[in-house]
Amino acid sequence: MAAIAGRTYPAVKIEIDSGRVAEFARAIGSDPADGVPPTYAAVYSLGLTAPHLFGDEDAAVDFARLLHAEQEFEWERQPEVGETVVSRGRVASDVSRRGMRFVTFETDTTDEKGATLCRSRALFVIRQEVRPARAPARS
């Protein structure tokens, strides 16, 4: 399995949509009137860029063996409804030990003027396949 530390993925734009923000707020039991929930970053930051990692054939991330182990967000400010933000993902580290692979995936989100809005750091743990001595018999 290739370690892919240092890999960067293309920038993706998203508008902070009022309807989707309200749906997200209700889903976490928050009041939509309170504005954009902080972890809406799961949508405009991590959620926008993680598909690049999961869809990267070289990354070879098996969804069924993936655990989201840690998550950190840092904000310069919270985004406003109606603004467009840009998120870029990168693999900060990718190390394997004792049958586990640890991928630190970072996403920087900026506003339309290029000012930093949010930084996301996700730690994914992927349980590596233990190769059987023989292929299992198929019925």
Binding site: F24, R26, A27, I28, P37, T39, A64, R65, E70, Q78
Partner: protein
Amino acid sequence: MTERRITFTREQIAAYAEASGDHNPIHLDDEFARSAGLPGVIAHGMLQMGIAATVAAEAAGGPDHLRRLFVRFAGMVEPGDTVTFRAEPNGPNKLGLSALNQRGEAVLTKAVAEYDGHPLPSGERDQGRGA
């Protein structure tokens, strides 16, 4: 101390999948979840973090004040589990966050929030209201 107690349901987990766009079948499909070695569907860690963040935002004086959040997803949350989320002052502009299930097990660990501004700790606010 700010606190919220939530009993997770399949409906809430499905609503979060829809709203967040995270359609990983371990949250939606029992059979798939079991094939992945889980007891059945589990809640998204990000749903737990979302609720913890709501509690943290309330303690910080509003979501705009939050500057940093960190959590470690330490335990699975299944439909029917009741989790108590708490935020408590932990130093200047810092909150310690906890999330304990009905068995007293931590489902989030090392969870912290940082915020700007200097709102009164919720304990002092509560005393103020009672006076």
